[in-house]
């Protein structure tokens, strides 16, 4: 690491702003001592290199991740979550260089499962994707600063998102496992409930889906599914036009209970949403003829390739609104979900920490 010197922290902050190392907001100055504590908390060697991060191709070392985690305001205990998220993003199938470079408004949504979520204060309930929660905010911000400072993503130069994405400041939440009638999302990828994981999918900001249950209406669960599917297949979106990508669906506890009471598990919901999320060829061609081949105008065109391309999890507080996160539906691997175990057995006890 190159050591830089400033008269005081205010000067250091101005230096970081001037040199494009921040997200535009003030950061914690990454002093040698702070970075060392963060590295120590990871339990990993500072120079361990997870690979090059696109599009700039910077070497993704533990020390660089730690610098950005300090700047983001993370506590050292958060470091294993940040490291796991970075490892997930570097999986080749995530196509990180393309995700970072596209003109589309896509950002990596992080969903944390397991004991590390409450341990780090990562919430999955009220306002989980808004301000007010240090774990959510600083872990998501740390990942974004890594994407900028290691990956080289800079608006208008290498990050070509035309409008941007508010989740490019921070986009991290937990699955609300305590409010879920189902096994954790991570279990659907083969992890045990005792393992902590981060699941990442590149998506647009949340699109609200309003639904009021009617316990006297046996069709009520299907109305909920049709409402969610209609937003997944929202015409004008990339999913509708390009028929691919992986979307996320955050079901609030009230809504997930409607589906669970109807005997549906996560896989059933995924399958039904994939079946319902369609548009007719004629309708799509009336909007975007260059994206849809000519053919029978009554053909149903799916917005996703299959049930596995719909990440269903429990999040947000109980009430009228769940959310759909549409996706980019592009890249060499067509915008898949990735996941990574959070390694907590590497962590060290910090000197002086209680």
């Amino acid at each position: 690491m190159t050591l830089l010197y400033a008269a005081d922290e205010a000067d250091a902050l101005e230096f970081l702003h001037t040199n494009g190392c921040t997200d535009g907001l003030p950061v914690v100055i990454p002093t040698r001592e702070r970075v060392d504590r963060m590295v120590l908390a990871s339990g990993l060697d500072a120079d361990l290199d997870f690979g090059d991060m696109g599009p700039g191709g910077g070497a993704t070392t533990v020390e660089k991740i730690a610098i950005n985690a300090v700047m983001a305001g993370c506590l050292p205990d958060y470091m294993p979550v940040v490291v796991a998220a970075i490892q997930a993003l570097l999986q080749p199938e995530f196509d990180l260089s393309e995700v970072q470079s596209t003109t589309h408004c896509i950002a990596p949504l992080m969903i944390v499962n397991g004991p590390m979520a409450p341990a780090c204060g990562i919430t999955g309930s009220f306002g989980a994707l808004g301000p007010g929660f240090r774990g959510n905010a600083s872990i998501g911000r740390a990942v974004r600063l890594c994407l900028m400072n290691i990956g080289g993503a800079r608006p208008g130069q290498s990050d070509m998102a035309l409008l941007g994405h508010p989740g490019k400041f921070s986009f991290c939440m937990a699955e609300d496992e305590a409010s879920s009638p189902w096994e954790p999302l991570s279990a659907s990828f083969g992890y045990s409930p005792s393992e902590s994981t981060v699941t990442i999918v590149g998506v647009e900001p949340p699109h609200s889906v309003v639904f009021v249950n009617d316990a006297d209406d046996p069709d009520s669960p299907n109305r909920l599914l049709r409402s969610l599917a209609a937003v997944i297949a929202n015409t004008g979106s990339n999913n509708a036009s390009f028929h691919g990508g992986t979307v996320a669906v955050a079901l609030n506890p009230e809504h997930v209970e409607v589906l669970n009471a109807a005997g549906m598990k996560r896989g059933d919901v995924q399958a039904e949403l994939a079946r319902l999320a369609t548009n007719t060829r004629g309708h799509l061609r009336s909007l975007a003829p260059s994206f849809v081949r000519d053919g029978n105008p009554d053909d149903p065109i799916s917005a996703v390739r299959g049930p596995d391309n719909i990440v269903v999890y429990v999040g947000g507080a109980s009430g009228l609104y769940s959310a759909v996160f549409p996706s980019w539906a592009a890249g060499a691997h067509n915008n898949p979900v990735v996941h990574q175990r959070i390694e907590t057995d590497q962590a060290c006890a910090l000197p002086g920490a209680s």
Binding site: G54, P55, G57, S101, R154, Q157, S158
Partner: protein, 77 residues
Amino acid sequence: MARRDRAVVALVTEQFWPQGDFVASSNGMPDVPRLRLPHPVAGSGHDAMGALAERIAGRLVAILRGEQQADNVVEAG
């Protein structure tokens, strides 16, 4: 293709010119030939795209043949 010593030229629109510089540099090929196009090209219509193709074809071939310098090389002096 450039790494395999094939003659190449990247067509980059005005709006994406800085990204072209970034991608070329980050891939270790800052001097890979690039030809600047107006923006936008997509959606400009059949006649406009045809006219643009007519306008640049000669220069594009000349760059590929090494008879002319690419725009990024000219701008770099």
